[in-house]
Structure formats: C-alpha cells, structure tokens
Symmetry: C2
Subunit: 235 residues, 2 copies
Amino acid sequence: MTSKDSGDDANAAAKASSASPANRRAAGQDPAKREQILDGAERVFTRDGFDTASMNDITREAGVSKSTIYVYFADKEELFEAALARRQDLIFNDIQSWLATDGTEEDVLMSYGCSLVQLLCSDLVIQAHHLVIGVISRKPELARMIYRGGRERGVMALKEYLDARVAEGVLEIGDTHLAAGQFIELCLTGTFRARLLAYHDSPPSEEEVRFFVGAAVEMFLKCYGTEDNQPPKPD
Amino acid sequence: MTSKDSGDDANAAAKASSASPANRRAAGQDPAKREQILDGAERVFTRDGFDTASMNDITREAGVSKSTIYVYFADKEELFEAALARRQDLIFNDIQSWLATDGTEEDVLMSYGCSLVQLLCSDLVIQAHHLVIGVISRKPELARMIYRGGRERGVMALKEYLDARVAEGVLEIGDTHLAAGQFIELCLTGTFRARLLAYHDSPPSEEEVRFFVGAAVEMFLKCYGTEDNQPPKPD
DNA sequence: TCGAAATCGAACCAATGAGTTCGATTGTTG
DNA sequence: CAACAATCGAACTCATTGGTTCGATTTCGA
C-alpha cells in the first residue's frame, strides 16, 4: 500500500446517498452509486494518471467496495474512459452559449475568446489533457476526442456567427470553418502551452488572457475585416 | 554502495589510462555501452511511456544484459531521465544557428519561424512531450525543463536579433524578450496542438507551416514594425 | 417482518515487473 | 597462458496490482 494516502474516511459521508429521491430498485446500475464511483475514480486518476492509479485506491477514495465497482464497470479501462467522458461533457457542454450575438464584432470575438482561453487553461481541462496524453500511445483516439470534442463545438458556434457577419457584409471570409479554427488557435497563444507543461501552475490572469486574445482579435479582423472594423486604432 | 569513483589506486589507473585508443578498459562506464543502453531505453520509452515500459524490454531492445544496465544506471528513473536529457540536447542544440542575419526582417523571421515550427512538430519533439506529460504529476520539473529548454535558447537568439533591429531603428519594441516569446508562440498556432493530441499523425507540410508562420510574421510586424516594414502592401 | 437483491469487505489468485544474485563467458592486459 | 575485470544471462526475490470469490451485512419492496 502507498502510505502516502491520507486516511480520508470523510468520504464515507458520500455513502449517504439516501438524499436522492428514492429510486425503486436498481439492477447492476444505480446512477447515484455510479456517480459516486466516478467521483472517486476521477480524483485518483487525475492525481496519479492511468497507469499509476490503483484500483484499491479508487475503492478507498470512492467509499465503495471493490466488488461493487466491478459490477458497474468491466475493468480499469472502462472506468477510466467513463470518468473521462463525464469530465469532457462537463467541460465542453455550454461553450456555444458563450457566443453573445450583440455588440461589435470586436467585442463579441473578444469576450468569446477570453472565455475560451479561460476554460482551456483551467485545471479541469489541463488535467484532462495530461490524462489522455499519458495513454496516448495505447489510446490515441481519446486524445483526438478531447481535441475535437472541444473544437467542434467551439468552431461550429463561431462559424455560424461568422457566416452571419459575412452575409451582412461586415466580414469577408472564404472558408468560415477554417477561419473559426484559426481564431481559436490564435487565442491560445502564450498561455496554453505553458500551462500544459506545468510551467505555469495556475490559470492565466484576466489581464494576460485579455492581452493575448486582444492580439488574436486584432489579427483576425485585419485579415478578414472590411474597412469598417479594421484597426479601431486605439492610440 | 556501488564502486563509484573511490580512491582505488588500481581502478583509477585503469580508468585514467583509457585516453587515446578507442577502447581500453572501462570501469563501470564505457561511453559506447552507455549509448547503447540509452538507445534501447529511448526506443522503448518513446513507444510505451515510462510506466508501461519494462526494464526487460529495454534489456532486449538494447541488447545488453540487465545486470549491466544496473551497473550504468541506478534505477528506471535515472535511466529515463538520462535518455530524456540526451534527446533534449539533440533537439535543442543548434536552434540559435538557424537565425540568419541577412535579408529583410520579414524574411528572417519567416525562415526562423518555419524552422522552429518544423522542429517542434517533429516526431522527436512530440514524443518527448508525451513522455514528460506522462509523468507530469510525479516529475513536473521534467516538463518544465522541456518547455524552457527549447524556449530559452530560441527566445534568446531571437531577442538578440530583435535588439539589433531596434538599435537600427527598423523595429520598435519595448520588451524584446517578451516579443521574442510572443513570436514563437504565435508561430505554433494551428499545428502544435493538433500534433500533440495525435490529431495529426505527421508533421505539418511545408505549406501549412508557411501559412501559419506567415500570419505570425504579419501580425508581429504590424505590432512592432515601423512604417518601412509595415504591410508589404501588395497593391 | 420477511426475503431477495445489492453491496460490502477481506481474503485470495495470477501475473507482472523492478531490482538482485551469482556462476558462466568474454575479452583485454601483462 | 594466466589473472582479472566487465559483461552476460537466467533464475530468483519481493512487492504490487488487476481482478475474482464468497460469505456476511445492509437495503428495501411487499
């Protein structure tokens, strides 16, 4: 056993799942228990990575007996992927809602970009990246999933916005899908990589984000804008 | 305690005498054998990652007996770090030499940026990233080392170039160190992340690189250039 | 209150893998 | 050739871990 583990029996509280509206009976899967298991698994996995994480630790951390875990999940891999999928949902679900549609193009892009960078540099997302990269040789599709999962949604929403602006004539873009992708990548300049490689151990500050996203917006409008929204020329 | 560099007369004599001829006698470390071990280790580690890699595999792959490996390296971790360090040297050693100093600023930045992106998206570098991220929770300093190792050198060389241009008056930059970092990050837009997450399984094409670096250069000169090297104004 | 289903928990199993031991082998030096 | 050091290689130790088993215990509907 790894003595490092703090004897956190405090998790036993989680057992009191009676709080949930009494579901009649469940066969092998009661959603509350499932969540409980995933909670523990997520904690251990994000702390240790897939290979180093031990099922016994997860057992302890989740406050669920080992046998029960194996009723809910076939093996370690399945548990891992389930935990990861859940986190991915949590992360990427409401991206599109961030794209306000009123305000100048500059404002809209700015606020969208900032939110995006904030999210992608969060602990939640960085940990997920570490996890999938940790098993990338065995399961490259997980990494790809993370890459696309976020991108698709973000790009799609932005693309629609851009399409509308193009129709209005305030932007001139050949391939709006491509342009959306470019913008997002551009926003991540200067923050994401440092975060991913543990060079920064906390998410970027509001100002940093604004600085880099601002640069991205400027470049973007310079490439795709018409005369109106060219450089607003602050000073 | 394994016999390190103790004050053993006989050993010391044998060791010291191996100067000019290719291979005389070696105590616990003969550089050729060491390389051989590192070769095998590197292959196995990059294929399987640190945790999954087995010392027996490395033994086989290197064509060296296990006991010998443990004469050269104390344990798996030491072997891992040695292999990684060697690769890092190999990778980042001649970056500064890439910065040609003749040609317009646009040309110089362009060629430098392209080389940089080409390198950072190469298998060699991507694999190294995967390796260090795979153990990032246990050894964050390795990841940081990779991040800085490349950056420092690249940034430093570029900074010097920028300083010179600023002195000449063709660029206006407050903090040249910062600007150099910005440029490099900017160049990686659109390629590096896709590569790191196995979304692209081969390095970007010449054209792709040129496209993204071109955008970076344009933005950079727009921010820091004087009137002369502003937009080349195609028409 | 009864009984079936779900869960617990602790022992158990098989496999793997890091690191060690030690006698056999090889190659160099004198 | 003889002495010797480095290496080989295969067996071995020991700890860990994924996964299983099974009887004891809890839960909850009827």
